[in-house]
């Protein structure tokens, strides 16, 4: 890599949200013709840094220098016009418009104010071809799968500065100098990823500086030249990718040595008392999951394994009464539970952490304290408010116990990182001291460190006698934590495997594939 002066330099960047200091004194630089990885756990400040750079958030301190000139963008449009294009993690396009329009909207070729549709479609087809995509640019974006939409978003961002793709009416941008790709690969399959990488390399050769964010370390090592590591909103260090191995990188991201992470792998499953807590008899719901029997002992961790859509979540929802079962009964501690609404299950000591923590769990506009106290208040009924002193004490206790960061009960939940949001949701249910905790994908979308903490918590809860029903996409996770593994296939509970040293992930995979346990 030649090192002329950086095309982009950010120095002393500060960004604050109410109650949270998201970035403090972060420096960052980007050279032309390089692919630069921005690394860090969830909540380290990667997304915030990008949004500050592109003008989505205003800057609270520090300077941004682009091509030697000091800049400050008030909107994404200004950043685009200056040559900084962004593709966000979620597809930020308009599904109701055609592919061609999505690529060009805001800078359509016009003559005397009239959009030249024919030219627009031709240009769009040309840009799409350049990426090697075979799609009809006149079809609405919503008719294509997410992965294609993501690639269209990239085409759009490239077209922005492209002199050819621009058109005389667009005011002629300076060309894309900086391309920001914020987790563009999370919804792409391997071939699409390779396609993207090929394109990234071509752009790099053309002198574009690419800022790449990805959770997949292998991808970083495959395509990046240099990386900057962030932790808790501060700069850790900048390295050439060739100078730092993956273990070193993870340690930098987490700020702790690998040993701590690995200790969990060797943990021994404690034995359960063998006392039955919950018993489901012939519980089922048409179109959701076939009738099944399940017994959960006190202090037992039951893991559910199966493919996406095999009925894992549906099983949990039935146990909780979130869906109304067609058949069967559930008894907790020998008493039958009414399953017409979750109230019955909650009353019997069952807690359910949904996989959609954003839409079904947390209230993003309420504070951490309010979110945590919600379930306890619901259990008491609205006529008996939780006394303020008891409430504050409980909240403080769980923030500490779960290491929720920032440790500020007044912070708005919507501004916490994914891992910390998950912990808030956990705290909400733990505070009601449930007998059975149902965790549906508690570790999805959160980083390694938070993942390990949540898993440790599950282990210690079950050691204290709480039963846990644990659903996770990663088999290793299920295998590591569970006493019993329930295998689901095609909306049927096909096997219950007692965990032991001879059980491996490949054995479980076999069961999932064949539907039989040998």
């Amino acid at each position: 890599m030649a090192e002329p002066r950086p095309v982009l330099e950010m120095a002393g960047i500060v960004k604050e949200f109410p109650g949270v200091r998201a970035l403090s004194d972060v420096d960052f630089r980007l050279f032309p013709g390089e692919i630069h990885a921005l690394m860090g756990e969830n909540g380290a400040g990667k997304s915030t840094l990008i949004k500050v750079l592109t003008g989505v958030y205003s800057l609270d301190g520090g300077t941004i220098t682009l091509d030697g000139e000091s800049v400050r963008f008030a909107s994404p449009l200004q950043a685009q016009q200056a040559g900084i294009s962004t593709v966000y993690q979620e597809v930020n396009l308009c599904p109701n418009l055609s592919v061609a329009e999505n690529i060009f909207i805001g800078r359509e070729p016009t003559r005397m104010g009239r959009i030249q549709w024919k030219r627009l479609r031709q240009e769009a087809a040309r840009l799409v071809d350049r990426l090697g995509l075979d799609i009809d640019v006149t079809a609405p974006l919503s008719s294509y799968p997410l992965a294609v939409q993501q690639l269209v978003a990239i085409v759009r961002s490239l077209g922005i500065g492209d002199g050819d793709g621009d058109g005389e009416g667009a005011g002629g941008g300076p060309g894309t100098k900086v391309l920001i790709l914020d987790e563009p690969t999370s919804s792409l399959d391997r071939d699409e990823v390779l396609q993207l990488f090929a394109l990234m390399r071509r752009l790099k050769d053309e002198g574009v500086a690419i800022l790449f964010v990805s959770h997949f370390l292998d991808q970083i090592y495959e395509v990046c030249d240099r990386m900057t590591v962030l932790r808790n909103g501060t700069l850790v260090s900048e390295h050439l990718v060739s100078d730092l191995d993956q273990v070193g990188l993870v340690q930098l991201m987490l700020g702790k040595a690998m040993g701590q992470l690995e200790e969990l792998h060797e943990h021994q499953l404690h034995s359960t008392a063998g006392e039955t807590l919950l018993k489901a008899d012939g519980l089922g719901r048409t179109g959701s999951i076939a009738p099944f029997d399940l017994e959960i002992d006190k202090g037992e961790v039951i893991g559910l394994a199966g493919l996406l859509g095999s009925g894992r979540t549906e099983l949990a929802r039935l146990l909780f009464g979130a869906d109304h079962p067609d058949s069967g009964t559930v008894t907790v501690d020998g008493k039958q539970v009414s399953l017409s609404a979750p109230n019955g299950a909650i009353g019997a000591g069952v807690a359910f952490c949904s996989e959609n923590r954003k839409t079904e769990g947390l209230v993003p506009d309420l504070t951490v304290r309010e979110n945590i106290i919600l379930a306890l208040q619901a259990a008491r009924g609205w006529t008996r408010p939780v006394p303020a002193a008891q409430r504050d004490e409980l909240v403080a206790k769980y923030i500490k116990a779960l290491d929720i960061r920032p440790a500020n009960p007044e912070a708005r939940v919507g501004q916490l990182s994914g891992g910390n949001q998950q912990k808030v949701l956990l705290a909400r249910w733990l505070i009601t001291q449930p007998k059975l905790l149902i965790l549906d994908e508690p570790t999805r979308g959160i980083d390694i460190g938070a993942k390990a903490e949540i898993q440790k918590l599950v282990v210690s809860l079950s050691e204290d006698g709480m039963s846990v029903l644990y659903i996770a996409a990663e088999l290793e996770e299920v295998l590591r934590l569970s006493h019993t593994i329930g295998v689901l296939r095609d909306r049927r509970l096909v096997a219950r495997i007692t965990n032991g040293p001879e059980i491996t992930t490949s054995k479980i995979l076999e069961t999932i594939a064949s539907g039989e346990h040998q």
Binding site: V91, C94, G106, E108, P140, G311
Partner: protein, 341 residues
């Protein structure tokens, strides 16, 4: 990224949607449905009342003459609904414009050439103010335009509690002017409304502003991140609606030749109904102004049919509108859920 575990049997990613799927997903389908409905209703009218003069071309042209003001108002509402908003102030704005115009012409003796631009400017400014409040204070359009509804209706009464009839010769000659089309004629109001429709079509489909309206209605957050000036577009949309309401008010004044504080009460709902029947999604981002024309024509035709029937109370207009509205919303719902699946 969102994944759900609900649909294991969902088809694997297909790159090229099938022809049937594309037809169902085609956004022009609802417009075609409304146009077809209009034709069927017209056919029913022809077969039932052909000996009572229903077949006269003038009966068809009267639809434009009698509903020109509604068409103009509905075009304004189409902009708002396409952008994902709503405008409840339309009826009040029309009523206010009739009062304002009548008062200026009759009581103040101002010339029409001055009154017309003034009334349009007041309407546009009213719309601008509502758009400004909606965007800058991030308040629901429903509430802001509801406030506008009360405000302008109240202002009518500030001008006068009594209705003001217009005896100005310029107004009556304009009202009676006929634009001959050979087999019949159109009023000036009808011609103006068709010009507005054509302009709206051009703006929505051939200008950047028009496409931004669709983009914002499709996904406002995305529009912002795509660098579109979403605030300005929103304000402009309500300004357009205010302007159209004022113009509709002028046409209504011309049609009825008086100002009355209770004119056009509830007409915002007729306009919204016409837009929805015309196939525009209430959630925004999908629909055509041409559909709004058919929506207005369908509503107008219901009125005509009931007049021709002679024995039916005019309340049947409302009942028929209600039934149609319900049916069209259900069709929309069906189409959008099919698209998601």
């Amino acid at each position: 990224m969102t994944t759900t575990t609900q649909s294991p049997q969902a088809a694997p990613d297909s790159r090229t949607p099938s022809r049937a799927a594309r037809l169902l997903a085609d956004r022009r389908l609802p417009v075609a449905a409304t146009a077809l409905l209009f034709l069927v209703m017209y056919g029913v009218g022809l077969s039932r009342y052909q000996f009572y003069g229903f077949a006269e071309p003038q009966v068809f042209l009267n639809l434009f003459i009698d509903n020109g003001y509604l068409l103009v108002a509905a075009v304004g509402v189409t902009f708002v609904i396409l952008s994902g908003g709503i405008d409840l102030s339309v009826g009040s704005m029309i009523g206010f414009t009739t009062m304002f115009t009548a008062w200026l012409v009759e009581r103040q003796g101002l010339p029409l050439a001055l009154v017309i631009p003034l009334a349009l400017a007041v309407g546009a400014f009213g719309g601008f103010l509502m758009g400004y409040v909606i965007h800058n204070f991030e308040i629901q359009p429903f509430i802001v335009t509801l406030a506008g509804l009360f405000l302008f209706r109240g202002l009518c009464l500030v001008i006068s509690k009594e209705s003001i009839s217009i005896s100005d010769s310029g107004v009556s000659s304009m009202a009676q002017a006929q634009v001959s089309l050979g087999m019949g004629f159109l009023s000036i109001g009808a011609v103006v409304s068709l010009v507005v429709l054509a302009l709206a079509f051009y703006v929505l489909h051939y200008t950047r502003f028009g496409r931004r309206v669709y983009a914002i209605g499709g996904n406002e957050q995305s529009a912002l991140l795509m660098g579109l000036p979403q605030g300005g577009t929103k304000i402009a949309v309500y300004t357009v609606s205010g302007f159209c309401s004022a113009l509709a008010g002028l046409l209504f004044t011309l049609y009825i030749q008086s100002g009355d504080p209770l004119h056009a009460t509830g007409m915002e709902l007729d306009a919204i109904a016409a837009v929805v029947i015309g196939g525009t999604l209430l959630t925004g981002g999908s629909g055509y102004v041409l559909g709004t024309l058919f929506g207005v024509l369908v509503l107008g035709l219901i009125k005509s049919l009931i007049q021709f029937e002679g024995t039916l109370s005019s309340w049947w207009t409302k009942i028929a509108t209600g039934v149609l509205l319900c049916a069209f919303i259900l069709i929309q719902r069906f189409m959008t859920t099919r698209k998601k699946a």
